[in-house]
């Protein structure tokens, strides 16, 4: 009987106790990236490098990525933002973006003999380590400009 009564009291006490876990998460606005007027072309996961990225583009870049143009349009501008992956805090079974690793930009400009040329820039983010190697320009330009846009409804 004693056990029953104390159990009942404990359960009632526990029932009335509600733990309010609100306001405990530490938001990390430094993980956000402002792509200005550029819009999303697609996301790219790379599990070998442990990164997750978003390719943004201006209107000509988006049109080029959505269409069947074999060559990117002059005037197209691309931004590939790469973040380091990390496990999602509340959900085992999902990885999400953490700190920014790099920001790569490609501008397609008019070359000498009407062939397009590419201005490429590689900017390091917070999670880029001093020993990390920067990627090779021509390979990155063709990777970035060769991406087809993800299907949006």
């Amino acid at each position: 009987m004693k056990a029953t009564i104390s159990l009942s009291i404990i359960s009632l006490a526990l029932l009335t106790l509600s733990c309010d876990d609100r306001n405990t998460a530490h938001l990390a606005p430094e993980y956000l990236y402002d792509a200005g007027n550029q819009r999303v072309i697609k996301s790219i996961i790379n599990n070998k490098r442990g990164t997750i990225a978003v390719l943004y583009g201006n209107d000509p870049a988006l049109q080029s990525a959505s269409g069947s143009l074999s060559k990117p349009d002059i005037g197209a501008q691309y931004t590939l933002v790469t973040w380091k992956q990390k496990p999602m805090p509340q959900w085992y079974g999902t990885h999400m973006n953490g700190e920014i690793y790099s920001i790569e930009t490609v501008k397609v400009v008019q070359g000498n003999n009407s062939e397009p040329t590419f201005d490429y820039d590689f900017e390091t983010g917070k999670s880029f380590k001093p020993g990390d190697r920067q990627p090779e320009k021509s390979q990155r330009v063709s990777f970035i400009t060769g991406q087809r846009a993800a299907i949006f409804p």
Partner: protein, 310 residues
């Protein structure tokens, strides 16, 4: 001052007994309905589930004598009813295979975050705790489920919104009144995810109110905050390790309005499936499925999973 006499104590004791006996009469009976389709999992996984979860999440509850005594019995009956409504290992086939997988991942997460088994249940049932090594067994198991490495090999289907407008003629609206809107394409990205259960990649957008709240480290999020999560399958990994988005699967909306959606912690939920953007859910109860998981696992994030946090 006059002390209360013996009659007072006797009267009080009789009252307590009367209330206690009365409670026993109206106490809910705890029944075990028949087992219709029991979950099939490896023995080592089954043992953990049986010991830690079956008392509430199955039709094979081993109810202790003290669970049947009021007022505890009210609590036990309530917990069991709630637990069985979430998922029932004895009626496992009621869930489609994809939902079964998601539930198993959810269980692992509820245990990892110490939300399950319930503290009050553990207190009364010593030995129901799931140890770290048992959790590792469960984690290992969910990683063997087919959705873990699911690859979208289908040809990518494109359909522009203009085609959809012609075919359906109207904007899809969720059962709770939230309309689909393509505004999010002009919003900022708040996070990106690679989800293992079911194999998908997601881009999560936030409107200005949401992004400002993150920038100002403001929690809970203010009314007017909106989040849209766009979900694609994952294509096969290329030689360099790149995994590109496959077919569009769905778009999920969360809309903050603390008054309108007070029953679901201030968030209105909507999900639009496939390129036809068919509103998900057969009844308005679909919202409960959403909030149950958010409420259990991300209360400290104002019930949102996909936000940038340290």
């Amino acid at each position: 001052m006059k002390q209360p006499g013996l009659t007072f104590y006797r009267g009080a004791a009789i009252m307590v007994i009367v209330i206690f006996v009365g409670l026993q009469i109206i106490s809910p009976s705890i029944e075990n309905p028949p087992v219709t389709s029991e979950i099939v999992v490896p023995v080592e996984v089954k043992q953990i589930l049986e010991r830690a979860c079956y008392d509430c999440h199955s039709n094979e509850s081993k109810v202790e004598w003290f669970d049947k005594i009021a007022p505890a019995s009210f609590l036990v009956a309530h917990d069991m009813e709630e637990a069985r409504s979430r998922f029932n290992f004895s009626e496992w086939d009621k869930n489609p295979p994809a939902v079964q997988e998601l539930l198993l991942w959810e269980m692992v997460n509820a245990i990892e975050q110490k939300k399950m088994p319930l503290k009050r249940y553990q207190l009364a049932h010593s030995g129901s705790k799931v140890s770290a090594s048992e959790l590792a067994v469960l984690k290992q198991y969910v990683n063997t489920l087919p959705g873990r490495n699911k690859v979208d090999t289908a040809r990518i289907v494109a359909q522009t919104s203009s085609i959809r407008k012609v075919t359906t003629g109207k904007t899809p609206v969720s059962l709770n009144g939230i309309p689909y809107s393509a505004d999010y394409k002009n919003w900022k990205i708040i996070s990106l995810t690679d989800k293992f259960d079911g194999g998908s990649t997601r881009i999560v957008y936030g409107n200005d109110i949401m992004v400002k709240a993150i920038q100002n480290r403001r929690l809970p999020f203010p009314d007017g905050a909106r989040i849209v999560k766009v979900v694609w399958g994952k294509q096969v990994e290329d030689a360099e390790g790149n995994v590109l988005p496959g077919n569009f699967q769905n778009a999920q909306f969360m809309v903050k309005d603390s008054k309108k959606y007070s029953a679901t912690e201030g968030w209105g939920f909507a999900k639009f499936d496939g390129l036809a953007l068919k509103p998900a859910g057969k009844t308005i109860l679909f919202e409960q499925t959403c909030i149950n998981c958010h409420r259990l696992l991300s209360p400290e994030n104002d019930f949102v999973f996909n936000i940038p946090t340290k």
